[in-house]
């Protein structure tokens, strides 16, 4: 028979072990990022000898050099542009389709919806070859649109799925009364359903922003011109050309990581809700 003290001691010990375990793993997650940021502020000489996380003489000029001479300014603005256009496209096209799948009646509704879902399930690892051939035929290789359109399409299936689930949960009475007041389908979609769907749209926006910001394969295939490249591709180009300029490379990497970390920290509730909702239900 345990005494109460023994029981408490055992519980305390278990909590302590779990706490230390979690803290250790958390440190492993954070350390490489702090180290990247610290290295971006060192000089070409100190970066290989000084292993501290707080450089004594921070070289902020590295960021200016990375932004201008390293080309990361152009890459950064390109990434912002691509993320914005792709996400706006995805939200508009997927919300229209999701609203129709959830609320409107037409022959083939079920068929088209399952078709969309199927692409989420079936992996086609070679599809980028045919996509490249297609973009080549359409004259879209090395253009903005050649990089934007396939990514809009890439985000559609999951976004339609998430938004349809949300639209289905909206109360029908609201729409019925709007219809009686003479509102058209388009009006109901735009003025009623869309504003109500803001939380679901937030999830769609965040997931797709993360995906577009981190995309690499398509950028490598489609874009050859440095002026058109997004950050991830730019990082690899810079690394290939100046492999030894670690501080500038680390500054470029920090530039590419900061926006994503900020978005993540502001929106992490939606992100974690989104994955768990998508995974547990789907």
């Amino acid at each position: 028979m345990y005494s109460v003290t023994q029981y408490r001691a055992k519980r305390f010990g278990l909590k302590l072990v779990m706490q230390l375990f979690c803290a250790g793993v958390a440190a492993t997650c954070l350390f490489p990022l702090f180290w990247m940021a610290a290295s971006s502020l060192k000089t070409q000489e100190t970066v290989f000898s000084d292993f501290s996380l707080l450089p004594s003489n921070p070289q902020w000029l590295n960021y200016v050099n990375a932004w201008t001479k390293g080309g990361f300014g152009v890459y950064f603005l390109n990434s912002i542009f691509y993320s914005t256009v792709v996400v706006v496209g995805i939200v508009l096209i997927s919300s229209l389709a999701a609203y129709a799948f959830a609320r409107l009646r037409f022959p083939g509704r079920q068929f088209f919806f399952i078709l969309f879902l199927a692409t989420m399930m079936i992996p086609i690892p070679g599809a980028f070859i045919a996509l490249y051939v297609l973009l080549n035929k359409l004259g879209l290789i090395n253009t903005h649109w050649g990089y934007i359109l396939p990514q809009i399409n890439g985000g559609l299936a999951l976004s339609i799925f998430l938004l349809k689930t949300f639209f289905e949960k909206l109360p029908k009475d609201l729409e019925d009364s709007a219809r009686i007041d003479g509102c058209t389908k388009w009006g109901i979609y735009w003025h009623l359903a869309m504003p109500l769907a803001k939380p679901a749209i937030a999830v769609v926006v965040i997931f797709n922003v993360l995906a577009v910001w981190n995309e690499y394969l398509l950028a490598m295939l489609v874009l050859t011109d440095k002026e058109l490249m997004p950050l991830q591709r730019g990082l690899m180009v810079f690394q290939g050309a100046h492999i030894t300029q670690y501080p500038l490379l680390m500054a470029g990497m920090t530039i590419s990581v900061i926006p994503i970390v900020v978005v993540y920290l502001l929106m992490q509730r939606y992100i974690i809700e989104g994955i768990t909702a998508g995974a547990i239900k789907g």
């Binding site: 078709l115 690892p125 690394q239 974690i272 994955i275 547990i280």
Partner: protein
């Protein structure tokens, strides 16, 4: 009647943009891959030579590099399925116990998954670097000079080192899903088991594990699909080398396509790989069903 027809017709306009995008950038490439796989084609010239199933035949009979790349991906996947997911489960169990700072941990553990594979690969290739790397620096500091090496260019350690990066980036994602699954288990079940006199291990075995089987299957399937298609981390660390030691299917398909300009052959590789992934997923779902039916 006329009004209703117009009404239904109008509804199609809602899905039209999605259908057009989808037909152009998903359906057309899907069928095009199958068509191209039967040809010998360099991707540029106007003439394509029909070869039937010769590309597939060649992959099965002669292409040892391809099968090495598949095996490499399988190796990384096996490590991810075991080490990465066990780590994720242990952390999820700890955070399910409402430890202090559980929320903060959840935010931190999911940070690596939101970073790009390129950035993660570049940071880690410096950590692993033979001359200036942190890992060797620390090994020397604790007197293990004998272990120091150029981790990513040594054939003995390259693939495992890449797998470690992949697991570092991925465990937080499994953690979030497993934690959500654990929190879905009704607390009454635990209390009832406790009242019946079960100890902690028995509760875990008889309540937690059976309730979590569907979540385990889901995490396993997504881990396999994600890890087999590993690419960004390879390209930003080893590029497939040394030799073919870290070559994976996606890098193979890419170099067949852009490196040696064999578009048809690359499509055949893609199809074989796609079918492999499909078979593995179906197999895992099958196992899931058997588990759920068993009492």
């Amino acid at each position: 009647m006329k009004v209703r027809l117009k009404d239904t017709f109008e509804n199609y306009f809602f899905i039209l943009p999605a259908i057009v995008m989808f037909a152009t950038f998903s359906i057309y490439p899907f069928f095009k891959v199958f068509q191209l796989s039967a040809y010998e084609w360099d991707g540029i010239s106007s003439t394509m030579r029909f070869v039937g199933l010769a590309n597939f035949w060649d992959i099965f009979r002669h292409n040892t590099v391809w099968w090495t790349s598949v095996w490499n991906a399988v190796y990384v996947t096996l490590l991810a399925l075991t080490f990465q997911n066990i780590l994720a489960l242990l952390l999820a169990l700890a955070c399910d116990r409402k430890i202090r700072g559980g929320h903060v941990y959840r935010v931190i553990f999911y940070l690596p998954p939101v970073l790009s594979g390129i950035v993660v690969g570049l940071i880690w290739s410096w950590i692993y670097d033979g001359n200036y790397g942190l890992l060797n620096h620390w090994l020397k500091a604790i007197g293990l000079d004998g272990l120091t090496r150029s981790w990513l260019s040594d054939p003995k350690t390259a693939l495992t080192s890449v797998a470690v990066i992949h697991m570092w980036k991925g465990f937080g994602w499994g953690f979030v899903i497993l934690l959500a699954g654990l929190q879905n288990i009704p607390r009454e079940l635990y209390e009832a088991a406790r009242v019946d006199g079960a100890n902690a291990w028995q509760v875990f075995k008889e309540v937690t594990i059976p309730m979590m089987i569907p979540v385990f299957i889901l995490v396993a399937i997504l881990t396999v699909l994600g890890t087999m298609q590993i690419f960004d981390i390879i390209i930003s660390t080893t590029g497939g080398g040394p030799g073919y030691h870290t070559e994976v299917p996606v890098t193979r398909i890419l170099s067949t396509m852009t490196g040696t300009s064999q578009f048809g052959y690359a499509c055949a590789e893609g199809i074989i790989f796609g079918i492999l992934l499909l078979l593995v997923s179906l197999f895992q779902m099958r196992i899931g069903k058997t588990f759920r039916q068993a009492p």
